[in-house]
Structures are given as C-alpha cells and as structure tokens.
C-alpha cells in the first residue's frame, strides 16, 4: 500500500513540501523526497536554502515558518515546520545527487561584529552548514584553489546509504593483539614514488592499492589521521617566492563537519558526488577488513574550524553559538584546544552530536575504533572545569552501538589538563601513553637511572594502569606529533624553520639524541649507531606489554629533517617516500620481523598485568627481572633484562616459548648471565640489534641456537631477544 506521507501538504513556489520528522537530524532520504532536520535552541527563525550543485546562488529558500500554498489549492495558509527546538521539513521530488543545502538562522539577540565577543552570533546573511551533513562540497579536490568570495563555501550534500558491504563486519580484534600503524591518508601515496596513478594518489583509493604493503608489514590496524571534512586552506598563505601555497592545514585537526569524510581525500571527490566519496571510504574499510586490518579514526571533537571571535561563521556559531561552544560570561571563546575555540562537549546537545557522529561512523562505515584528539577537553564542564564523572566519556563507554569499538584517548589538552593514567576510563578507554613515549626515549638514549621506569613500560605501565590492564596503554616511541624515529636519533633539537614561525612552534622536550652530530652526517660510526638505535626503539616498543603503535614512515626510517611539528607542510617532508622501501630495506626487514615476532608470541600480548609470581606451577614467575647477573636487576642503571615464562602467556590461556630480553643502553658491551631454562630447552637468538643485517633478526622458527647457553655478550646500545624452547 502506498504511504500517504509521500504526498505534499504545502507548496512553496514550485516545491512540494510537508512537515518533516525531527529524527534523525540532518538530511535523510525518505520515500519521495528528502527530510531536513536541524536543531537550534536560540534561533527564532530558520530557512532551508537549496542549491543546484556548485551554484553560487540558491535555487530556492524555503522558510520553516510563513505563508504557504495548500497542496490542494485554495487560500494560502500560515504554516510552521518545527517541533520543539527542531526545524524539520520534507521536500519532495528533489534529486539528492544534484542539490546542496544549508540553513539561514536568526534570533532575537544583538549581533556582535567580527572580533567582538558575543553569546549569540546569529547572522541571517550567512548560509550555514548542517552540523549533521553527511557529505560536504566545496573542497572537492585537495589543494584546488577555492574562490575566497564564494558565498557558501562548505556545502551540505546528501548521501545515499546503500553501500554493498557483502557481509563485512568490524573485525573486533582483541586490543592486546593489535599493532597500530598511524598514517595520513594523503601522505601515504601522494609521493611520486608511490607508483599509484595520479588520480588516486593521495586518496582513500590509493591506500586501498597499497594494502598488500601494510599486510606484509604485519600491522593489523591503521589509524587514519583526521578524515572528517576540514579545509586544507585554513590559515594558508601563498608563498610567492616558492610559487606555491604555504602553511596548508595538512594534518587536518580542524573539523568542519563531524559526519562527512574529507572529499579531497577521495579520488571520486572531483565528481562532486557525496555518495561516491562515502562509498570510496567504505570500500577502503571493507578491503582493509578483508586483509585483516582494522580501521581506527583519529577524531577531533575538541574544537571546530570556526576559530575564535575573529573566525568565520560556517555552521555551529551561526546555528547556536551558546550551545556548541564553551564561552566566557562576556562571550569570548574558551581555548582549551589551543586553536581558538572549544566544543561544549558536556552540553547535552553537543554530547548527542558526538555520540551520533561516532555511532554513524561505526554503523555506516564499519569503523573499528576511534582515537580522540585532546580527549581531556571531553571531560570538562561547560565552564572548563574538569568533571569527576564526565557524562560524555561515560556515555561513549557504555554506548550500545560503540560497544565493541576501541576508544583511545589522547589524555591531555592544551589547557593544562594531563590525565595519562587517570583518564576516566569506565573499563573501556585506552590512552596514548605519553609517559611510555618519554621513558622509552630517555632509556633509549642512555639517560642514567631509567631502568626501573623502563620496566614499567615493559610490563604495560602497571604504575599508571593498575586495574585497567596493559590494553589501557597505547605504547609508542613516535607519533605524528613530534620527532619521527629517524629524527629522534638524528637531532638534539627541533628544526621547524620550514613552518614559518622561526622555530618557535613544536615541542622542546623531545628526549632525543643525535648520536654525535646534528642532522645529516657522513660519519659512518654515527650512521651505524643511528641505525642500531632505531632498531632498539622498535624492539623496545614491540617487546613491551600494551598496544604498540608505529608511525607511518618509521618502518623505512624516513626523515623530516628535524621538523617535529609538520602540520602545515603538504610536500615530500610529510609524504611517504616509497623509494626508501628499497634504500632502507634493512630497517624495513627488521621492523617486519619484529612485528612478526610479536604476533608469533602470545606471551607479549597479555590482557592483564603481570603478577610477578608463578601461578601456573611452571617454576618461573610470569615475568622475572634480571640484570647483567641473572635474577639481579639494577633499577638505577642503563641496563634491564627480563624473562617471560611461556606457560603464563595470555595470562595462562596460551603456551609460548620462554622469552628473554636483554636491553643494554650502556655504551659498552656487557656480558649478561642468562637465567637457567627448564631441562631440555635451550636458548635461541631471535634478535640482536648489535649484529649486522640479516643476523640482526631471525624469522620466528628459524632462530639459531646460542653457542654459550650460560652468558650472552650484548653489545653497547643493543637489544638481544632470546627464545627458550
């Protein structure tokens, strides 16, 4: 039987309309038309603005309140399409592929000038992007210069949600088994050396083409730096001297829309079709899953691209400034994000926006998990005070749709709230372990007295995450923010001149060491040491409990020439140089084998912390600590060794070899007395970073037997890993 809600009740000009459904928010395809629904608590007036795709001027502006013709003819009638604080209307017969839409809003409040504070910032002259827009036009090709005077620059589009998933589901890999690869969609294949054709180079399709590389690397999760629509031209300027744009927003930590994939990251973006962009990303996710790789998104909910009171009115501030942003009593923007404004995450409306967004990505894109940029902002109340029991973080942890998603917090913000180890976790949240990074770096460069701290890292940071387990700890030596691995061992200080801020930007506490010369050198001794230190870092990361994360490019020892804050550089400095796959094949082999070692050994992937005792009756505790003398750790030195008992692997749920790891960050070689093995077992050498390739690491199952079963000489600044079987 035909539905009666496909018939218009009212006419506006030639458009057939009827009262809409308030839920879901946004633009939704319904039988016969499109349902539009937008919230504003403080707006008294709202207009739906419809455009032909790409057109400068609207094709129609339909008010949500006013005089309308009746569909059946007769006198015009007064109509209002609003339920509570939601303006909603269904427009029939629209072609979803050919239209773009926005809203105008007004409210009974004074209108502050640009630069002036204000609680409300209604501007009926602006066309506003729908906060729930599922696709956004206006930056359809990355780097294609925009028309700065375009009246409605970021334009809502409609998405048909009928992608053919063919039975795909999120993989739900246990967190303790994950090896994460942090990457930038554009940077991964944009470099001419990628071998990807120009159109898909630097896009979701480009990543898809290179999945075999990731599979060979052995990672089973990719964490995509922001893929929500952002404006790469935000804060950019043309560098006439270089003849190109400078200070692009390359990283993309500045969200315009929380439901829309970045069109410029899609090869199909140029077609100007929101559904195609969505499908391209969905297809990437589907194929990742087919390759056994999860997809995590780096999501930025702490602020938006609208900046402070000097920023543009794109969406939220023109819809309901007082709801969406944290404001001082005078109407200035609180700046806990360091970027001008702060999203008002514990306002119930905004909280629902965040939840709806994440549910949408989990349900409609099959996303496996999320990493929350400056997540501590999400735990502040509307006036900025940290909450003991933040409703948003709790709601995320208990959300039914997100029930199996990984939730990872960057557990600090730019307002001084540092919550590593104390982020409100509700048994769900993991954290980027910034303390792990710092400890690993200090230990690596041979700072004295770090062995005890390093032991905490090795154990999955029980000092920070007692009761939460090692899976609360996302371990990393490097991430997009800060030095890459090559530069960590090649520079004492940052070299960010290329960012155009006279080297003032970027962190100064890098815990890096250049191994004897700052930057490029032809001193073979220094180069050899750097190579070894990079391997040491990879080994430290991958033999530690918790969830290791590798930064794109570190597997091939790519340099950023000492730049530790490369957010604004859309060039070779940030793009993965695929020629390094050949030139740094030795390092790449080491990383691959180290990942393979971790994946082959369940003893490295425990869900619960060590108990430092033998609860399996094996004669060995789950972990035991050693030094140059067996059973005699020196917590204040530069040396640490440990033995994992294979009978306690996966907290007793799996069986593994015995694994002995000697970390010698002292500059000279030291003999390590080996703990005895059970009768019939002997030590085999998996890894020795002090040896030249290919003897630096042996594939699982092919480890040669150690000649001297009693003592192992470990070179200066070297890591040795033995398996007892």
């Amino acid at each position: 039987m035909e539905r009666i809600d496909t018939h218009a009740t009212h006419l506006y000009e030639r458009y057939r309309i009827r009262a809409g459904q308030p839920y879901p928010f946004g633009a939704t395809l319904v039988p016969g038309g499109i349902n539009f629904s937008v919230f504003s608590r403080h707006a008294s007036y709202c207009v739906l603005v419809l455009y032909e795709r790409g057109a400068r001027q609207p094709m129609v502006e339909i008010p949500f309140r006013g005089l309308f013709q009746r569909a059946g003819g007769g006198e015009p009638v007064w109509g209002e399409f609003r339920i509570g604080n939601v303006f909603t209307m269904t427009v029939l017969d629209l072609d979803p592929e050919r239209i773009e839409y926005g809203f105008r809003m007004d409210g009974p409040y004074p209108r502050p000038e640009r630069g002036q504070p204000g609680i409300h910032r209604f501007d009926p002259g602006a066309v506003l992007l729908d906060p729930y827009a599922q696709a956004i036009g206006g930056r359809d090709r990355w780097g294609s210069m925009p028309d700065w005077d375009f009246p409605y620059p970021h334009r809502g589009r409609v998405v048909a949600d009928d992608f053919d998933w063919e039975g795909d589901r999120p993989l739900e890999i246990p967190l303790e088994d994950l090896v994460i690869y942090e990457m930038h969609v554009r940077g991964f294949t944009r470099h001419p050396s990628s071998g990807v054709a120009p159109a898909p180079a630097g896009t979701f399709s480009g990543v898809r083409e290179k999945l075999p590389y990731l599979k060979q690397l052995g990672v089973n999760a990719i964490e995509l730096m922001p893929v929500f629509e952002f404006d790469e031209f935000e804060n950019s300027r043309f560098d006439a001297g270089a003849g190109r744009w400078a200070k692009m927003n390359y990283w993309g930590y500045s969200t315009i829309g929380f439901f829309a994939p970045k069109a410029g990251f899609a090869a199909t973006g140029a077609a100007g079709d929101g559904t195609m962009v969505a499908d391209e990303l969905k297809n990437l996710v589907k194929e990742c899953h087919a390759s056994g790789i999860e997809v995590l998104l780096d999501v930025v909910f702490n602020h938006t691209a609208e900046g402070n009171e000097n920023g543009p009115t794109l969406s939220y501030r023109g819809i309901d400034n007082a709801t969406y942003y944290m404001l001082t009593p005078e109407g200035y923007y609180f700046n806990f994000s360091g970027t001008g404004n702060t999203l008002n995450c514990n306002n119930p409306i905004v909280r629902n926006l965040v939840l709806d967004s994440l549910r949408y990505w989990a349900a409609h894109y099959h996303i496996d998990g999320f990493r929350f940029d400056l997540a501590s902002v999400l735990g502040r109340d509307p006036w900025g005070a940290p909450l003991a029991n933040p409703p948003l973080l709790e709601a995320l942890a208990f959300d039914p749709v997100l029930g199996k998603c990984k939730l990872i917090a960057e557990a600090w913000d730019a307002g001084g709230l540092y919550q590593v180890g104390s982020f409100p976790a509700y048994g769900r949240w993991a954290e980027w372990n910034g303390k792990c990074r710092d400890t690993l770096r200090r230990f690596l460069k041979g700072d004295p007295g770090q062995a005890g701290a390093m032991a905490q890292v090795v154990g999955g940071s029980p000092d920070l995450y007692a009761g939460r387990g090692p899976t609360a700890s996302i371990n990393f030596a490097t991430c997009h923010d800060g030095f890459c691995l090559h530069d960590l061992v090649s520079y004492d200080g940052k070299h960010n001149e290329g960012n155009g801020e006279e080297n003032r930007d970027g962190a100064d506490d890098n815990h890096s060491w250049n191994c004897g010369a700052e930057g490029p050198t032809d001193d073979q001794g220094i180069l050899d040491l750097r190579r070894r230190q990079m391997k040491n870092a990879v080994a430290l990361l991958l033999v530690s409990q918790g969830v290791p994360m590798i930064l794109m490019g570190d597997e091939v020892a790519q340099t950023k020439h000492g730049n530790n804050n490369s957010y604004c550089l859309d060039d070779e400095l940030n793009w993965l140089d695929w020629s390094l796959v050949g030139r740094h094949a030795e390092h790449l082999r080491f990383v691959r084998q180290m990942v393979a070692f971790r994946r082959a050994h369940p003893a490295l992937r425990n869900r619960a912390h060590f108990q430092y005792r033998d609860y399996r009756g094996s004669g060995y505790p789950d972990i035991s600590w050693h030094g140059t003398q067996a059973w005699q750790p020196d917590w204040d030195g530069r040396v640490l060794a440990f033995l994992l008992c294979g009978e306690h692997a996966k907290n007793g749920g799996a069986r593994d070899d015995m694994i002995y790891v000697a970390l010698n960050m002292y500059w000279d070689a030291l003999p390590f007395e080996l703990p005895g093995l059970p009768a019939g077992k002997s030590w085999h050498v998996s890894t020795n970073t002090g040896m030249p390739s290919p003897r630096d690491i042996h594939p699982p199952g092919e480890e040669p037997r150690l000649a001297d079963q009693g003592t192992c000489l470990v070179g200066g600044r070297s890591v040795v890993v033995l398996v007892g079987r």
Partner: protein, 107 residues
C-alpha cells in the same frame, strides 16, 4: 551525449548496451531495463558499456540494484568499461561483485 540503453535477450542471457552519460536523470531508464531483464530469469546479465562516457553514483546504484535484483546465482558481466567508468567501478569496490571484461567472453 544523450543516454541510450537497449536490452536484448539471447538464450539465457540478458544483454544491455549503454551509451552516453549515465547520471541521475538517465538512471531510471536503465533501472527499468534491468527490471525487465530480471523478469526473463536470465543466467547472465551482460552490460556493454564501451560507449558509456560517464557514470554518476545514480548509475552505480542501478548496478547494485541489478546485483540484488538478479540474486547471487546470476553472473553480471561489465564489458568494455573505460576511463572514468572503470575507475568509478574500482573506487567504489563494485568491480569485485561483477566480472569486468574488455571483450565479452562468457566463462
């Protein structure tokens, strides 16, 4: 170029030839032919797209519709996809659900 679509049935095979630009305005015409083809219960649906210059997502959606309408027992061939049409199929992942061929050779 104006859109043209023609259906012929050869044995247990339905053949549809598409020319011009398949966008939102022409997709319903294509969809009608797919529905018509489905009523004959063919074993194979062969789409000749060599002279198709462009396919918008509306066109792609008819292909997906065809996949669903025909059921998994019916093999869909897309023959002669070039340039933008081919890349649209690949980027959306639809090329995995059909047999892409340059010249039609039933398998």
């Amino acid at each position: 170029m104006a859109f043209e679509a023609a259906l012929e049935t050869v044995g247990d095979e339905a053949r549809i030839t598409l020319r011009g630009e398949l966008d939102a305005s022409s997709a319903p015409q294509f969809k009608e032919l797919v529905e018509k083809a489905a009523t004959g219960g063919p074993q194979r649906l062969v789409l000749f797209v060599k002279e198709l210059g462009f396919m918008a997502s509306a066109g792609l959606r008819v292909l997906i519709f065809a996949r669903q309408k025909m059921g998994s027992g019916v093999v869909i061939y897309v023959v002669g996809a070039q340039g933008p049409v081919r890349s649209t199929l690949e980027m959306s992942g639809f090329h995995r659900s059909v047999v892409l061929q340059d010249e039609y050779t039933p398998t």
